[in-house]
């Protein structure tokens, strides 16, 4: 657990959208999925997920429905809306550009400046 990173502010929404884009999930499932796709490198406080989920639902990026989990528990499932899918694309592009820019900035050698 020691090499887990705190996620950057604002990136949780992106991670949730990404996690849900692979298929409807309940809250706990989203946490597991984020862990899975990030190679367990990101630490998310479990409860902190929900304000993010409600925000995304309210913005119309996610929609939710009550359903039954694999082990027969009632749970609320989230999936992307069309707007959510669009937003995910945009945010992913943004992020990639930003990450590339920062990576390039950080890898710059002193003599190049």
């Amino acid at each position: 657990m020691a090499n887990q990173a705190q996620i950057l502010p604002g990136t949780l929404d992106l991670l949730i959208l990404r996690a849900v884009s692979l298929g409807p999930l309940h809250g706990y499932g989203i946490l597991l999925r984020i862990g899975q796709i990030s190679g367990n490198a990101l630490l998310i406080e479990q409860g902190a997920l929900y304000p993010g989920l409600f925000r995304l639902v309210h913005q119309g990026l996610l929609k939710s429905n009550w359903g039954t989990s694999d082990n027969n528990r009632r749970a609320k499932f989230y999936e992307l809306t069309a707007a959510g899918r669009k937003r995910l694309r945009q945010e992913t592009d943004n992020w990639n550009r930003l990450a590339a820019a920062i990576a390039s900035a950080l890898s710059t050698q002193p003599e190049e400046a």
């Binding site: 309940h26 406080e45 409600f54 528990r73």
Partner: protein, 884 residues
């Protein structure tokens, strides 16, 4: 169904916090269970797994709070967006905004004022504990009088009241050391404060145990306001001795600030025990069982579990006991219970009917204003349909657009409501300190309280939502594709729309108001010009009560004669007449009349009860009352000569069958005295302007002494110029005698007060209604002209005549106007039946009223359609066609 579900979910997130909470709880709970399942799989016991899952999850409440904040902030964000947008839109059309705000301010203001009056006079009970079971006892509808001995019997024998108390209203001269001045007081039974269950603010109250026979309790309890204004809140006032009509009285306490006596519209200055009535009023009714007018009102709290019906049955059994025990004094009575605040059924029903009617009218006006603004709003929404369509096409939700429209509407209504409330509170404050009746401390207790503010806010929001609702269907129906493509809605109007109905309703409301205000004005004018049986112009009234300066017994008529002689000597005075109480000011006292041959003198056998006035010989001359037959009274008709009287024509007709017949005949009083009629005078108004002709008897003041004194001073000059001379002459005669001097016309304000109030309030409502109708018709006509401008232009270009164009442009508006006016006129004529109780001879069968209403409505229509008609006629077809 899915739409319905989502709508319900949306509503619940907005309004039902608890449901949102429950759902959140369920979701978080399910998360913990799922986590626990995983932990269990990894080998933990179930209980440990759940505990661990909860700990891992962290503070549930904190996350729930964050979720809620997310919701709230987005709600506020949208609200601010809408407010900004609304402000921008409204600023772009200042004409519409100002019209809407002013309309609503007037309508909501009118409602707040009328509600303030309704609240003060009808909804608010007397300021005593448990006011809901406080009742007054009436002998017959509208008559709360009783005799004192009867009161004592009722008090001691009833089993229904938890303390029955009695009070009188009187004026007396209060001398706190320097200058005696007239003050208003309530003479109350010893148990008054105990029966009303109130506690003193300072010192103590007097009680039953303080009463030990006549003049045994010279105590004063000050009303809080009087203590505040006349004793500057001096706490040392308790125990102080003051002079009341030159008798020493001790101030024992001060009543609490919220207590203003037991009549809503009268705040007495202080309270004294009724056993001291002789000192306070100069006469005493404590032993006069036959004096029905001895006590003004009886009231008390019903015992727990006793209904008003049971209480009246109880009282009626005491009534038959009284009838059997005192046949000479007590006739048959039927007791009823009534609410004491407006003196039971005397003032209650007419005031209640009038104020409720006014409230209804005000409500209708607000409704009309909403209808008006609704159609204006709808017209605007139609003009904005292109914008709405564009926004829809760009992906805005209809709910979002509607929400913005509502925000705009409520914004207007709140601003209008704020202005209206501000104005109405100012008006109510003025009304609350207004003294409508000179000489009498009547007040309208209409200070605005929390209810008034609450009602105004509710009305503002409700009317905003109401007129915001009108364009909803329109927005929902918008087909963005069609509109963006063709540029106009192009929907053909149905034959009758809701908007038309609203307009007709509004016009008829306006016609009702105009009808009733014209009827009221006519009635008021007629009552001003009708015959009172005296001539108030060019006459001054000097009023006083000699008892206030300590005159008693034989000294009273002597002093009254001196007063007459002194005033007669003032230059400019034509004649001076004395009367104990002027007509139309509280009326004369009732006098039971028996035929000369009657032997059974029980109250129930009286042939008539007439108003009795004690007068001096010159009274008829000074008052301008015409003598029809016989002679007036003379100075020789004094206490030593046989009893004589002058009667009015109604009396002569009723008792002696004709005026000429009456002179020289006799009638009997209840004590058996034979009275000879020596003259007959014209009829007059004695108690109220709306009364039917009543019988009246005028007797010589020496034969019927009374310390109450009114002097009618007729002058050849402007009567007001006499006032200083009158004042100084009276001061020279007796410095300690408080007097009140005013013109007689001014004094009539007392009788004219109800009809003046009715006329003014109906007039104001009428003007409001007319303004609303004008804007309503104008809005409709202007809108229909502007919509059809192109068509009208083409028709003009093709050679249509002006009349035809006008007909097609404004025909609908005129038709609606005619229809609404007719309906309103009919309703208005029906409504004036209520008015006839308040306004003298308010009759709708008056050609002037009919023509007035028709003319007013026609003018109104002309004013409203003038500008649209001009616009329709001045259409330049070429220009129009070029523009498109």
């Amino acid at each position: 169904m899915r739409l319905l579900d989502s709508l319900r979910a949306r509503l619940s997130t907005l309004f039902q916090r608890s449901q949102v909470n429950a759902e959140m709880d369920e979701e978080l709970g399910s998360h913990i269970q799922l986590r626990a399942d995983d932990l269990e799989l990894s080998g933990l016991a179930r209980a440990d797994a759940e505990r661990r899952a909860r700990i891992e999850f962290g503070g549930r409440e904190r996350f729930k709070e964050e979720v809620r904040e997310t919701f709230l902030s987005s709600f506020i964000e949208v609200l601010i967006q809408d407010l900004r947008y609304g402000l921008r839109v409204l600023r772009k059309s200042p004409g519409f905004t100002i019209t809407a705000v002013v309309t609503l301010a007037l309508a909501i203001g009118a409602n707040a004022v009328v509600f303030g009056i309704l609240n003060g006079l009808i909804l608010r009970p007397l300021n005593v504990p448990q006011a809901q079971d406080l009742f007054m006892i009436e002998r017959a509808r509208g008559n709360g009088y009783s005799s004192y001995p009867d009161y004592v019997d009722l008090r001691d024998r009833n089993r229904s009241f938890d303390g029955l108390t009695a009070y009188n209203i009187d004026a007396a001269a209060l001398d706190t050391g320097d200058n005696p001045s007239k003050a208003w007081l309530m003479e109350v039974s010893g148990n008054y404060f105990d029966a009303l269950r109130i506690q003193p603010h300072l010192g103590r109250f007097f009680h039953d145990s303080d009463e030990h026979g006549p003049n045994s309790a010279p105590y004063i309890v000050l009303a809080y306001t009087f203590w505040h204004t006349h004793f500057q809140d001096d706490r040392g006032v308790v125990g102080r001795v003051v002079q009341l009509n030159k008798h020493p009285f001790t101030i024992v306490g001060v009543a609490p600030p919220e207590f203003h006596g037991t009549l809503l519209f009268l705040s007495p200055d202080f309270f004294v025990p009724i056993v001291n009535q002789e000192q306070v009023a100069g006469i005493s009714v404590l032993n006069a069982r036959g004096t029905r007018s001895g006590i003004f009102s009886l009231l008390g709290h019903l015992k727990a579990g006793i209904t008003p019906a049971q209480a009246s049955a109880d009282l009626n059994s005491i009534g038959s006991y009284l009838e059997n025990t005192y046949p000479k004094d007590d006739g048959h009575v039927n007791f009823e219970l009534a609410r004491p605040s407006l003196y039971g059924n005397f003032l209650g029903p007419p005031v209640r009917a009038f104020v409720t009617g006014l409230m209804l009218l005000a409500g209708l006006i607000l409704l009309a204003a909403c209808a008006n603004l609704g159609s204006l709003f709808a017209a605007r929404a139609a003009d904005r349909s292109r914008e709405v369509a564009l926004r829809l096409a760009l992906g805005a939700k209809r709910s979002r657009i509607l929400r913005a429209l509502f925000t705009e509407a409520v914004m207007i209504s709140l601003v209008g409501g704020a202005f209206g409330l501000w104005a109405s509170v100012a008006l109510l404050r003025v009304l609350a300190v207004w003294q409508p009746v000179p000489r009498f401390p009547a007040v309208l207790p209409v200070n605005p309280d929390a209810y008034v503010y609450g009602v105004a806010v509710v009305l503002a929001v409700a009317s905003g939502i109401l007129f915001g609702l009108v364009p909803v269907r329109q927005v929902l129906r918008v087909d963005s594709y069609q509109i963006v493509k063709s540029g106009s809605t192009g929907t053909a109007g149905r034959r009758i729309t809701v908007r038309d109905l609203l307009l007709v309703a509004q016009i008829s409301i306006c016609a009702v108001l105009i009808t009733s205000s014209i009827v009221a004005v006519r009635g008021l004018l007629r009552s001003l010009n009708s015959s009172f049986g005296f001539e108030p112009r060019n006459a001054m009234l000097v009023t006083t009560d000699l008892n206030m300066a300590g005159y008693r017994g034989d000294a009273v008529p002597v002093m009254q004669k001196r007063l007459i002689k002194t005033i007669e000597a003032i230059p400019g005075v034509e004649s001076v007449g004395f009367v104990d109480r002027t007509p139309l000011y509280g009326g004369g006292r009732g006098l039971a009349i028996y035929a000369d041959e009657a032997t059974d003198l029980r109250p129930s056998k009286a042939a008539d009860t007439a108003y009795k006035f004690a007068i001096s010989p010159e009274y008829f001359h000074a008052a301008g009352t015409a003598l029809l037959a016989g002679r007036a009274l003379s100075w020789h008709d004094d206490e030593n000569s046989p009893h004589v009287a002058v009667v009015n024509r109604q009396f002569a007709g009723k008792i002696f069958s004709s005026a000429t017949n009456a002179v020289g005949r006799y009638f009997k009083q209840r004590d058996g005295t034979r009275v000879q009629v020596v003259g007959v005078v014209e009829d007059g108004k004695y108690l109220s302007l709306t009364e039917d002709p009543e019988t009246a008897v005028f007797v010589p003041f020496q034969q019927s002494p009374n310390s109450e004194t009114s002097l009618v001073v007729r002058s050849s000059r402007d009567p007001l110029q006499l006032a200083p001379a009158l004042k100084s002459a009276l001061r020279d005669l007796d410095r300690g005698l408080p007097t009140y001097i005013a013109t007689w016309s001014n004094e009539l304000g007392f009788s004219l007060f109800p009809s003046r109030v009715a006329t003014v309030s109906l007039g104001v409502m009428g003007v409001l209604g007319a303004m609303l109708s004008i804007t309503g018709i104008f809005g409709m006509a202007a809108y229909s002209v502007s919509k059809r401008l192109k068509e009208l232009g083409i028709r003009l270009a093709l050679g249509a005549r002006r009349k035809q164009v006008l007909q097609s442009a404004l025909g609908r508006a005129v038709k609606l106007l005619a229809f609404g006016s007719t309906a309103g006129l009919v309703f208005g004529l029906l409504a004036t039946r209520v008015l006839s109780h308040i306004v003298y001879q308010a009759t709708p069968r008056d050609p002037l009223v009919l023509t007035g209403v028709v003319l007013a409505m026609a003018l109104l229509g002309l004013a409203a359609t003038w500008i649209p008609a001009q616009r329709a006629l001045s259409v330049d077809p070429l220009k129009l066609l070029r523009e498109e």
